[in-house]
Amino acid sequence: MLENLLSAGTLTQILVGLSRTTILFIVSSGLSLILGVLRIPNIAHGSLYMIGAFSAYTVIQFLGGGTLAFWAAMVAGPLVVAALGFLLERGFFSYLYDREHLMLLLLTFSFTLILGDLVKILWGSEYRSITAPPIFRGSAEVFGLPIPQYNLFLLLVGPVIAVFLWLVINRTRIGKIARAAAVDSEMVSAVGIDVGWVFAFTFVLGCFLAGLGGALVAPIVSISLGMDHSLIMEAFLIVIIGGLGNIWGALLGSLIFGLTQSLGILVWPQFGIVFPYLAVVVVLVFRPKGLLRSAW
């Protein structure tokens, strides 16, 4: 088994794992943001990711494919999801912030059920797929190994999003307020800041990230109902092992998850999916509150 690790496929597998990490990071950083600032364990985050993918598909179908359609989909998909997030936040969550976590968890689970069926009504239950735009088709040579160009593109997107989030959280006024609200929202409102809108902004940003993850993943997976279920569990575990509300924790958690997954398949193909869960258990046994400092 272990000799598989030393083969040439390992590097390819690591690069594929890293591009998967990008998707996991984008989605889980949104989840982490919402969990850290609003304290909502949002299971519907997975559904938003799925809607992001389906919306991207529809935009590309509508514009008839091509490079421009791809970029339009990458912008429009997440925006649709962000708009949906805005409605959910203003319509429901803004009235329910003081409820206990269990209730919020179940409420978001019921949204998952509703959104899942709405996707089925709108898009049907067949599998959909989109192809990467012409500039990302084919593969490039990295250290003499063929890597799909789209995966390389994803590897570039990850750091860009990470830096963008860091800037928003640390360098903008609203980001600073959101961080303060994560620690003590009562105090923030006591100094005269309307916390409600900060919460709305954070929630919408988090949803945007879920949609972006869905749109970005669309060309490399089959877009289907049920793509929300496996992803949301992974995203939750990533957020927990990284440290609730910590963006860098989400990055670290995604790396652990993505790499154990892709290398696990190499070591022991049948039980590949077991490895990430095992890694999570090991982390949590030794660091029950996650690897990095959590916002709570």
Binding site: H101, L106, F109, S110, I114, D117, L118, I240, Y277
Partner: protein, 309 residues
Amino acid sequence: MKGKHAAAILLLVLLAALPQFAPRFHVYIVSILLLTGLLATSLNLAIGYGGLYQFHHAVFYGIGAYGTALMLTRSGMPAALGFLAGPLLAALLSLAIGIVCVRLSKLYFGMLQISLGSLVWATVYRWYSFTGGDDGIHGIPLPDLLSSTTGAYYYTLIVTAASLFALYRIVRSPFGKALEGIRDNPVRSSAIGIHVKLHQLAALVIAGFFGGVAGSLFVVVDTSVFPDMMFWTYSLEVLIMCLLGGMYTFFGPLVGSSILMLLRTYVSIHFQYWHLFLGILLTLVIIFLPEGVLGAVVRRFRRAETGHA
């Protein structure tokens, strides 16, 4: 109090007579209803009485079922041993997971519990040679006495009633009261000399055991097991049953699971989008009826009894 007992006995008599007049399909549905009610009640011991965020309870249901199914299909042991082995295995697993999780509280507890549970699920899901992988195991051979729908029904009824009685006694015992005390104020409970973690661990093991009993009953009623029984979405569905009926009442989860299963059976015949229906119903319950259906009824009665507003 008298009225309550009379109602319980009347319900039992009705249930006992059911196969005499109801068609087989209904007998099957009621069997599933009973064992699911037991599953939800066992979860409620941990989450309602213990305040422990047991997010992945279906794992114990699944392991109880798989333990029983594997004993019946793969070992030459007597069937009775299989029916015992499943729940015991579930209790053992619950002890192992509990020891790791009980150090944490609330959301962290729940998340560690759900990841450990997912680990178990992933193993079962992939271990084709032993558990049948994603196909599961079908056509499990049962002893003659249980192989008919009616036989399976009576077995389920007796075991469920006995288990519920045991659980009822447990929550009414000093142990149960201590558990509720811990839920409401762990610091204070610890200060008056209650070993908090030990009580919580015991509650988890008991909940896991009875979850496993429900699983072994599923094997009897359905003669099959499959990994979806222990996927995390089912765990949340069981949580919903508790919430729907009312978490802080003993019979709430039973009411909740019955409502959910009946709705699922009859709504999905006429309406294709069952999840949409359930999601909307659940949203309304959480917003307007957070203590559950039975919880709301009980409160209304209490209010009427004491004359308070």
